[in-house]
């Protein structure tokens, strides 16, 4: 790990090493991509059985990437010492940074650029200045529609409901269950069962809950649990998430599903945090005559405040981007659209990429405070 001090290099050497580093970072993913791509053309055109194709694909994809690191490492290790120490880190870190740039960093700028244009995005084959002066350039008018179109406003309202109810209930239930489980005689089993839905896909969860909400006309036997309970209590059966009469409250029938799924997550985190409270603290307050409720509010909650905040933010970000549940359950009908379903509808169903991109940028802006918070946390860690 002995790096030659930067000052000792000649300017030419530094430029050369910089170019080499960039090249390495770009070349490895490009070669990897090319090799994988060729393999794919072969797989796509072959008529082998599905199982064979699947296993070849797995070996190809995983082995190919590993092999490339090995080859490039060997190439760089043949270089003279000084060059090797300059280049080797970029063999290691380069591919990751290149992929991150292609898939997340650069798309942020590109999506913003697309959002300034009409439905087909910036016209192809023009340079930036020509694009700006072309008729496809619409400025901020996509953003204006994002904040004025009625379906979008509905989506914002629903997303707000998702964030408020979804995060509150998952956090409160998670905390409650964590505290109860801690004192119960079957902690492990209880935590496993509550945590279990977290492993289920939203599509799977949608089927599970659709079955609970299943509606049959009043004179037939109900096969959905909820309607069956409602009928036995003398009510009329409803198709719950589609029940427009109570809009926007029919969103709650979708939000329940995510609470069911996410509570396990917050429970696990809270449970670990509660176990970190020193026993002496709890004992001392009990001896001082504090009731269990006082202990909960005066000792536990302040002690795990950090965990509560981070769990809350996580669930908020999660519900902000909620998509699968709504898309599979209602497709956004019956007044249940959210931002992400609107994004999908505009970008891919309506093929209005300008509008869709503007929605994506709004989503990004919404998470920027969390991003800054993370960066601030990172700066405070002196270790790096």
């Amino acid at each position: 790990m002995n790096i030659p001090p930067q000052g000792r290099q000649s300017l030419g050497g530094r430029i050369l090493s910089f170019i080499g580093q960039i090249l390495l970072a770009v070349i490895i993913p490009l070669v990897a991509f090319y090799v994988l791509y060729q393999g794919f053309l072969f797989l796509r055109d072959s008529n082998a059985s599905r199982g064979v194709i699947a296993s070849v694909a797995i070996v190809w994809g995983v082995g190919g990437v590993a092999l490339l690191y090995w080859i490039f490492n060997n190439l760089v290790e043949r270089l003279p010492d000084a060059w090797r120490t300059r280049f080797l880190p970029f063999v290691f870190v380069g591919p990751a940074m290149a992929i991150l740039s292609w898939y997340l960093a650069i798309p942020t700028v590109r999506t913003f650029w697309i959002s300034l244009f009409g439905r087909d995005g910036p016209p192809k084959g023009l340079n930036l200045l020509q694009q700006l002066t072309s008729s496809a350039f619409v400025g901020l008018s996509n953003y204006k529609s994002v904040f004025t179109e009625s379906l979008m406003l509905e989506a914002f309202r629903n997303n707000l409901m998702w964030i408020i109810f979804g995060s509150t209930f998952s956090v409160v239930f998670g905390l409650l269950i964590a505290v109860l489980a801690d004192r119960s005689s079957f902690e492990k089993l209880a935590k496993s069962l509550i945590f279990l839905p977290y492993a289920i896909s939203f599509v799977g969860a949608s089927i599970i809950w659709k079955f609970i909400y299943e509606y049959r006309p009043a004179n037939q036997p109900q096969i959905g649990l909820l309607n069956s309970v409602v009928v036995s209590l003398g009510g009329t059966p409803q198709a719950w998430p589609q029940w427009v009469d109570v809009a926007p409250w029919n969103n709650l029938f979708l939000i329940v599903m995510v609470v069911w799924l996410q509570t396990g997550f917050s429970m696990v985190l809270f449970s670990a945090a509660l176990k970190g409270i020193p026993d002496e603290l709890m004992e001392a307050s009990r001896i001082d005559g504090a009731t269990e409720i006082q202990i909960f509010f005066r000792i536990m909650i302040p002690y795990i405040r950090g965990t509560i905040i981070s769990v809350w933010t996580t669930v908020v970000i999660f519900t902000l981007k909620i998509f699968d549940v709504v898309w599979v359950m209602t497709g956004g009908q019956f007044g249940t659209h959210v931002i992400a379903t609107q994004f999908y509808r505009q970008s891919f169903t309506n093929q209005n990429s300008g509008f869709g991109s503007a929605i994506a940028i709004v989503l990004l802006i919404a998470v920027i405070p969390v991003m800054f918070y993370n960066l601030k946390q990172f700066r405070e860690q002196e270790a790096f």
């Binding site: 990437v65 870190v93 992929i99 898939y103 109860l180 939203f202 659709k210 990004l364």
Partner: protein, 367 residues
Amino acid sequence: MAAKKRQKNLGKLVVNGTLFLIILIWTIPTLGVLISSFRIRDDIATSGWWRVLPYRDWQAVKEIDPKQAGLDPNGVMQVEGVSGTFEEFRAGVSTPDGKQITWIGNKRIGKIEVQEQVWTVDWNFTLDNYKQVLGGQDFKFTKPDGTIQIIPGDNMSGAFLNSLAVSIPATVIPILIAAFAAYAFAWMKFPGRRAMFIVVIALLVVPLQIALVPILRDYKALHLNGTFLAIWLAHTGFGLALAIYLLYNYISGLPRDILESAFIDGASHFTVFTRLVLPLSVPALASFAIFQFLWVWNDYLVALIFLGGNPEFELVTQRMAAIVGSRGSEWHLLTAGAFVSMLLPLLVFFSMQRFFVRGLLAGSVKG
């Protein structure tokens, strides 16, 4: 003292009771679908799954042939001490001793049943739903009126294989790439190290929606849309920031002297990485692998966009969503299919719960 003990016991009872109730509520949704997936198609469609629990139902204890008993369905009839018209008997007339008398069938060729309420369960279980949803084979049913109805099956096993072919590389590739990067961030010094790591942290919470439109354009230009490669790379790109961050936290915490003595012995970075760091980091790699695997397996949006055009490569989630859309009332397919799609995640969940929890505590939550 005794009073205090009694109070403590009562408290324990309340805690256990409340928790039991919550667990029950949390489990019932999954349980209902699991039980239904083994019930016969017609049973699912006509009665609730809770019929597998004991319930009271009317069961015939005696049959009467109306013609032999000399009853005239067009007038008021006397049966077993109660009287009523045909319509009343069709709906069921109850006798003073708690029985019910019901006319089954039409006026010409009907029969009268004397029914008693008994405890019963519906325990007709079958594997047909699974065969149908996995095998893709059509099932023929002969309806009561003699017509034959053909119910097309559904080929989930193909989708299952596709999901595997997507999930395994989409789990291993990002881990490999991230482990190399995490090692470099932790144990190498190079210009731009801090700046690059700040980029990684900033990208942790960026919603993937931001990338879908531009990446789809790239894929279309490269004719990559609808291939496995497209979706592997997409999942790699979207999971990489978190993977680097988590693995960095672990790898940078490895004991310094072990690595340094290896360097003094003349080991290269590559050797140290493959021989020392990777084996030592297995717990962290496993935690992230579980999360990435579950995330990819359960993903719907990314698959919908990058594999959407190609029915050959449909994944389990897409297949299920398609069944919900086109055959949403065929609960025998939906319930069995839902369980097929959950099988692997639940297996991973139960067998590796320890790693799963550890990963969660380390911050395995996707932005």
